[in-house]
Symmetry: C2
Subunit: 352 residues, 2 copies
């Protein structure tokens, strides 16, 4: 908000940056940001820095005084870099990673193609590209608090036809024990963020999320979903950015209330073991299926520590583990095998 006011007055970027309690200095030199305040690349870099710091501070507030994010600012030889923030072994959060990256360089067309789900085609040899994004995975200690993941990203690729740009992203929830009220609160918050921009978004992106976060070999979803989208370049750049901004700003209200509600819930050895098994499934999804993880790891000079911060501190694999019928663990599995229409959107449509 503060940023927008200042932008209107074209104030000094240094002043803007001081207003925010960012985790580290921006990756792009301040002098360049200053000269390019209307450029989407600059707007996106400032957005992800703000989202990163707001989310890290919100998480720290739920923690013991001394549990703070470790901040690593890193740069790439080819161009750009990132800020990786990790809080590990806290009382409330077993492992929390919040990462931003702002990178540019040249990519072979095949690699560019891989960046999009449904491809427009690209011409030329190596293509100049720019990518900026924020991504976070929070693994709480208490099994009654769900894991959250979100990622919001902006791409530009230049080919002989000019610059192509698009946004992607999403937020999704992975509970260990199903609390229907929480799932509804989470989905409702995301729906509100979507509805302000396009009434068709939530339903489409909710389904896309269920489809994407599938552990195919097990025939189950990673969690209770949320929203997921890629290739958003409509209706225009500023409106698409505003939509992504709303989604990113919805992360805290969608999640922090769930942390506050459950972080002191009682639990025991059995619940912890179940949480560890489900974290093993999380690892399976991320290492076998997740496009972002694979794209990251197969990129030369990848900072694998930032990519793999999404993995839980602890995980477990038991041979042939199967929850017994009529247990809370079994109820969760039912929802993972058949995603639910949390806000009864489809039902409302059918009866309308």
């Amino acid at each position: 908000m503060a940023y927008k006011q200042h932008k209107a007055n074209k104030v000094e970027m240094k002043e803007i940056l001081q207003l925010k309690n960012y985790m580290a200095d921006p990756i792009t030199p301040i002098s360049h940001l200053e000269k390019t305040q209307d450029d989407m690349k600059t707007q996106m870099e400032l957005l992800i820095m703000r989202i990163q710091s707001e989310f890290c501070r919100a998480l720290e507030k739920e923690e013991d005084e001394e549990a703070k994010f470790q901040v690593d600012r890193w740069t790439r030889r080819e161009g750009g870099g990132g800020i990786t923030c990790v809080l590990q072994d806290g009382r409330v959060f077993e492992k929390a990673g919040v990462n931003i990256s702002v990178v540019s360089g040249k990519l072979p067309p095949a690699a560019v193609q891989q960046m999009r789900t449904r491809g427009k085609s690209f011409d030329g040899q190596e293509l100049p590209f720019f990518a900026a994004g924020v991504s976070a995975v929070i693994h709480p200690r208490n099994p009654m608090v769900p894991t959250i993941h979100f990622n919001y990203r902006y791409f530009e690729v230049q080919d002989k036809n000019g610059v192509q740009w698009w946004f992607g992203g999403g937020t999704d929830l992975t509970p260990y024990y199903l609390n229907e009220e929480d799932a509804v609160h989470f989905h409702l918050t995301l729906k509100h963020a979507c509805d302000g921009h396009d009434k068709s978004y939530y339903a489409r992106f909710k389904k896309w999320c269920d489809d994407y976060f599938t552990i195919t070999h097990r025939g189950e979803r990673r969690g209770v979903g949320g929203i997921f989208f890629d290739d958003v370049d409509q209706p225009n750049q500023q409106s698409a950015f505003d939509f992504v901004t709303s989604c990113a700003e919805a992360v805290i209200p969608s999640y922090i209330p769930l942390v506050q509600k459950h972080k002191d819930d009682p639990y025991g050895y059995y619940e912890r073991q179940w949480q560890l098994l489900r974290r093993g499934r999380y690892v399976e999804f991320n290492l076998i299926y997740d496009r972002g993880t694979k794209f990251g790891l197969f990129t030369p000079e990848a900072r694998y520590e930032s990519i793999l911060m999404s993995l839980p501190l602890n995980a477990k694999w038991e041979y042939m583990h199967e929850p017994k019928p009529n247990t809370p663990e079994h109820s969760l599995m039912k929802v993972l095998k058949e995603p639910r229409d949390w806000l009864q959107i489809e039902q409302a449509r059918a009866t309308a």
Copy 2:
């Protein structure tokens, strides 16, 4: 050995099978095995059943009385099946999986191609294939006892030019703490198994193993290697089978002495945490890079519980963990980053 004697006399297969303490009934009906005693498919099925039972019994001998392998015999709708043996949460072995499978059916040529490292080409549409193999991963509890993995397999594919067959396999060791004497013992046992068949095998297959078991994004090997090979179809079928038999028979003498030597070694919380971190790396290799795991999981109707039995019971990922210089953990990392010529084969060559 007993099998070979009996084969000469063409005795009843039932009698042969009773001589062995197999883990379960063979996948192929006994009546069919009886009629095809000279067929390589039958020879391989009997070999892997024997290796499975000998290895399971040898591991059980190192365990407490009550820790026994759970045996699951499963079948596939399309043809064949397997026997999966898992011992979990023992005093000595945290998770030990020993699996055999004997499967047949039809595969698209692209899938067949994937089964070989360096491809001969295949003609035709869907091709009838046969695959039989034994594979095992043993994760001990004590961090001073290394993890072992081995896999020996036989393939047949029929195209319009006739039947193509080949063997593949290997045995490799993943220590958590480096014991040079153990590594030399392990490699020497494998070298002896190779040398009886082809003096060039050990050096070639040792290098292939170091190359294959690489966690590329980290620039490190999974362990201290061993041997690894694929596409072995020389000098003839029976000799290739005898070579694979020698390798499979070398598993027990290469590994069980290390278990006996270290299973009661003292260790503490710190060593356990390091073991868990290294097990996280094991998971990374298996889920991101291992061809067998991927080929398995992407096969329709895959029995994923058998494929993923290779994953440890527990694993851990700490952000930016780096062993301090001059520690035992650091010594291990040095060997993982630069594989060693354990038997000084290259050195001997250079000075010869």
